[in-house]
Amino acid sequence: MATSNRRRSQLLRGVLDLCLLSVVEDEPAYGYEMTKRLRARGLSIVGEGSIYPLLGRLEREGLVETHRAASNGGPPRKYYRASEAGRRALAAGISEWRTARDAVDEVLGLTATEVAA
């Protein structure tokens, strides 16, 4: 179980930035809102690293743009939205993910065939 959790954590850490870019690609969101969007798409970050350091990096690298705006009745929030560079990075990242995923699928598929044989 611990090994499984560790593997999931490592896999997720490698693509969490893409997931964040994806949830703010079309519509801006503040930190907690992004967490909710990830959860709505079936991704919980319980036990994983926080999104905040990652958001900090995306901001530093210019992959997200930020602005402050009032939220629903609450204090002004910091909204994040994918920048043009962020969209390009997302597209490139998705391509890399697919390539890696296909390669791993291929290897795991071969392994499954060998085991079956």
Binding site: Y30, G31, T35, K36, I45, E48, G49, P53
Partner: protein, 200 residues
Amino acid sequence: MTQFIDECLREWKRLAVADAVANEMAAELEADLRDAEADGLSPEEVLGDGVFDARSFAVAWASERGVIPSSAAPAQRGYRTLVAAITAALAIVTLFLGIAVLTGRHTTQITIASASRLRPAIVVPRLVTPGTHSSLPRFFFAPARGKLLFPSKPIPAGIVRSGVDLQPVGWILVVLGLAGIAGSILIWRGFPLRRRYTTA
């Protein structure tokens, strides 16, 4: 959760993050955690495993965001390493002192081979006779009646020990040494105590 945010603020201050930036990050975190609490989510569901270690979380966020002055981080690390090294050195010396005290002799021991060898060279006896109160010394003769008293009893042969029992001191030094070593490790690692923060 206020405690978690306060710890983050302290860490950002220690890292010389500009107040405006630190306050902005703290406000963002506070608002998000408040929303999460209203939705019935635990801080862990928002902060991930960062919830267990406020300082590491604060360092990671500020570092990734690039708001730590370039000179601050290495200087802080260097200072912390120096303090940890000095603490460790003192702790090790204390520990060895403690072990030395525990395993060494605690008393001064003098062995007296014979009583006569240590008797004073000149013993001045005092004559005490009934009815007289004379205390004049009389040399080389003894009275017919009376009692010849030596000023002190002869020292018997044997072993004389003196000193205090240092075992408790030894144990205290050992405990202090071990505590110092543990403390130096904590200083070096920056006290990353794994702590769960509750929503409060």
